[in-house]
Amino acid sequence: MTVHVSKLFGLLPATGKAAIVLLVTLGAVVHLVSSGDADWRAGADTFYVMVLLFVFFSRERDDDERVRELKLRALMVAFVSGWAFASAFRFASYLQDRDAVPKVPSAYDAMFVVLVVANALYLLWHHRDGRDAAARPGV
């Protein structure tokens, strides 16, 4: 099942993947705003994270060493972003109530941030490579 879903995402062009990432991110933000609570540990966040995971780790149409290099680099930057997000969240919670034990984001929250950043960076860098190639056509 997992392999089939991954292959299905792999068939999508970059624009399709970008649209899915955008929709899932918007969906999560709307969910967060409408529930009025940062603690959105329901089935929905699992869905958001799973979709982003499949989009990021699915094979590309033109899967080569450059694609793998860009994905690895995007993941490295995204992990630092996730750590910064978790630290900022904890610090904000501490500032709100200095006597209470500071809240920490759930693993799903952190994964969501990491995957949104990773997908966005990869799609941006891959698009930049394509744009430059289109700007210098032929010999």
């Binding site: 080569d64 060493e65 450059r66 290099e69 490579d129 430059d132 190639a133 210098r136 056509p137 010999v139």
Partner: protein, 65 residues
């Protein structure tokens, strides 16, 4: 790392897409190498050398002094 990929490609009158097909990579990857934003792996560099029929040192030049 500096390279002469664009020059060699022009000598053979190949487009980026032609070279990408021959190397089994995407056109974006060829462009990233030509613009020196990406250094290819050793197997890909050997493939380029074999394709152009010249040693790797003729295609790539190290930045190191």
């Amino acid at each position: 790392m500096k390279n002469r990929l664009r020059e060699l490609r022009a000598e053979h009158r190949w487009s980026q897409a032609d070279l990408a097909d021959r190397l089994g990579v995407s056109r974006q990857t060829v462009n990233a190498i030509e613009t020196e934003r990406y250094d290819p792996s050793l197997p890909l560099a050997f493939k380029m050398a074999a394709l152009f029929g010249c040693p790797i040192e003729r295609i790539f030049e190290s930045d190191a002094p």
